[in-house]
C-alpha cells in the first residue's frame, strides 16, 4: 500500500509540475499557431534519447539539445523557402522519428523501453526526475516572469514589436528554447507522441475561460493540473495507461468548456 502511494504521489507531483509550465507555454504555441512545429520538435525527441544514451548524457539533456538543434535547423531551412513550411515540418518530424528509431536499434547493447518514450511513463518517475522537472519548471517560470511582456508583444505582432525596438529574433530563440525544455520534461509524462497535447489542449480550454493573456495562461495551467489529477485517478481506478488517461481527461475538459459561452470574442477573421 505504501509503495503504491509513493509512486502515485511522485506521478502526481511530476504531472502537476509539467502541467504548470505546459499550460502557459501552450498558450504561446496556439497564439503563434505553432502547434505543428511543437509536434515536429517532439518527434525528434527520440533521436535526442539516442544521442543522450550514446554520449552517456542524461536523456533529458539529449532531448532538449536535439529539439533545439531541430528548431534552429528548421528556422534556417525555412528561410530558404525550398518547400512550404508545413511540408518541411512534416519531413523533419518523421525523418527524425525514423532516425531516432534507427539510432536506438544501433545501440544494440542497450535495452530501451520504446513504449515508455513514445507514450510516457509517469508512474515510473523517480526523485531525480522530480528534481529535474521542478528545477526546469522554476527556470521556465522565471523566464516567463522576466520576459512576459516582450514575449507577448512579439507574439501579437512581430513587425510592430520590431518597429518599437524589440529584438524579436531573440524572443523567437527564447521561445524555441522554452519549447525544447518543456517538451523534454513533458514527454516523461505523456510521451513523445502526445506531449504537444499537454501544451495545447489545456490552453484551448482556457481560451474560453479567460479575457486576458495572463488569465488564459493561469487557466491553462489549472486545466492541465486538473487533467493530470483526473487522468491519474482514472488510470489508478480502472488500470488505464496513465499518459493516455491524462490526455483523454484534458480532451474531456475541453469538450466541457465548449458548453460555456465564451466571455471574449469568438469571431473568426
Amino acid at each position: 500500500m505504501a509503495m503504491i502511494e509513493d509512486f502515485m504521489l511522485r506521478a502526481l507531483l511530476g504531472g502537476l509540475g509539467v502541467a504548470g509550465v505546459a499550460g502557459p507555454l501552450g498558450c504561446f504555441v496556439i497564439w503563434r499557431r505553432m502547434v505543428y512545429f511543437g509536434a515536429a520538435l517532439a518527434h525528434s525527441a527520440l533521436l535526442g534519447v539516442a544521442l543522450g544514451l550514446a554520449l552517456g548524457l542524461p536523456t533529458d539533456l539529449g532531448i532538449a539539445v536535439l529539439c533545439l538543434l531541430m528548431a534552429l535547423g528548421f528556422l534556417a531551412l525555412d528561410r530558404s523557402q525550398v518547400v512550404a513550411s508545413d511540408t518541411l515540418l512534416g519531413i523533419l518530424a518523421h525523418t527524425s522519428l525514423a532516425l531516432g528509431l534507427l539510432a536506438l536499434a544501433l545501440l544494440e547493447d542497450l535495452r530501451v523501453d520504446l513504449m515508455s518514450y513514445l507514450f510516457g511513463d509517469i508512474l515510473a518517475l523517480n526523485l531525480t526526475d522530480l528534481a529535474v522537472i521542478y528545477g526546469l519548471m522554476a527556470a521556465v517560470l522565471c523566464v516567463f516572469l522576466a520576459y512576459w511582456r516582450p514575449l507577448l508583444s512579439a507574439t501579437v505582432d512581430e513587425e510592430l514589436a520590431r518597429v518599437e525596438g524589440l529584438d524579436t529574433g531573440w524572443m523567437k530563440l527564447l521561445f524555441t528554447i522554452l519549447m525544447a525544455v518543456v517538451i523534454a520534461i513533458g514527454m516523461k509524462v505523456v510521451g513523445i507522441l502526445m506531449v504537444i497535447s499537454l501544451l495545447i489542449i489545456p490552453a484551448a480550454t482556457a481560451r474560453r475561460l479567460a479575457s486576458s493573456p495572463e488569465g488564459m495562461a493561469l487557466a491553462a495551467a489549472l486545466c492541465g493540473a486538473l487533467s493530470v489529477v483526473l487522468g491519474l485517478l482514472g488510470s489508478y481506478w480502472w488500470d488505464l495507461p496513465s499518459g493516455a488517461a491524462i490526455v483523454a481527461a484534458a480532451a474531456g475538459l475541453f469538450l466541457l468548456s465548449l458548453s460555456i459561452a465564451a466571455p471574449a470574442s469568438r469571431r473568426r477573421q
Partner: protein
Amino acid sequence: MNMQTQPQDAVGPIRDQASLVTAEGVAITYAGRAVLSAIDLTVNRGEIVTLIGLNGSGKSTLARILLGLLQPDAGRVWRVPGLRHGYVPQSFAVDPAMPLTVRRFLTLGGKVADDVLTATLAEVGLPGRLEAQVAELSGGELHRAMLARALLRRPDFLVLDEPMSGVDVSGQGQLYQLIATIRDKYNCGVLLISHDLHVVMAATDRVVCLNHHICCTGRPDAIVGDPEFRALFGAQVADQLALYHHHHDHAHEPDGGVVPLDDDLDQGGHGHD
C-alpha cells in the same frame, strides 16, 4: 518653379536639418525580380509624403526598408539618431485565440499612464473602447487602435500603409484631417501609402509616384501633369485629379511664368520639357 516635377526626389540625398529618414540608391530584389531600384527619398519633419503606385509597385517594401524592417540589397538608409518610428501596417489581425483588451494592446510596447491612454484613444476617434477586446473591433476600429499605439510612442516618423482601406468615402476626409492634425501636434514626418489617388491629392505636401523606381515626385497639383504619372494612371484619371484638386485658372511654365488655362487641361502646360 516650385510647381515643376523633378525626376528625382525634391530634396534628394541632401540632408538638411529637417530630414528624418533618407534613402540613397536603395534597391532590393526578390526571386530575381528588381522590386525597387535606385530609390532616393527623404522624409522631412512636419511633412506628409504620399507614396502612390499600382499594386505590386513596391510601396510597402519601400516603407518597410525605411522603417528598418527590411535590409536593402544595395544603397543605404540614413536616419536621424534616436528616431522614433510609428507604424500602422496595411493588414493586421490579433489571433482570436488570444484574449486581449485594447488597453493591453496599447501597452505592449511599455507602460502608459491611464489619462494618456484615454486621451490618445479619443484623439484617434475610438473613445471609451479601452476595455474592448481587440478581436471584436471592426477593421476601421482596429486601424484606429493601431494608430493610437503608434502615437503613444510620440513618433518622429509615422508610416501609414493604406490607412484608407476599410474606411468609407465619407470617413476618408475625416481621416485625412486627423493625419494632418497629428502631423501638426506631434511635429512628425508622415509617410502615407495609398493607391486611392483622389483623396491623396487633398492633404499631401509631396507625392512620390512609385513603379519599382521613382517615376516622379512633387506637389500633388504638379504631379498630375507629369508624363510618367499620366502614363501610369492614364491621362483621363490625371485630368480628373487635376480638376479635383485645384481650380486654378492658370498653369506654370518651366520658368515659373503664368500661362492662362483654357478648358483643356491636357494642354495645360505644367511645364515638362
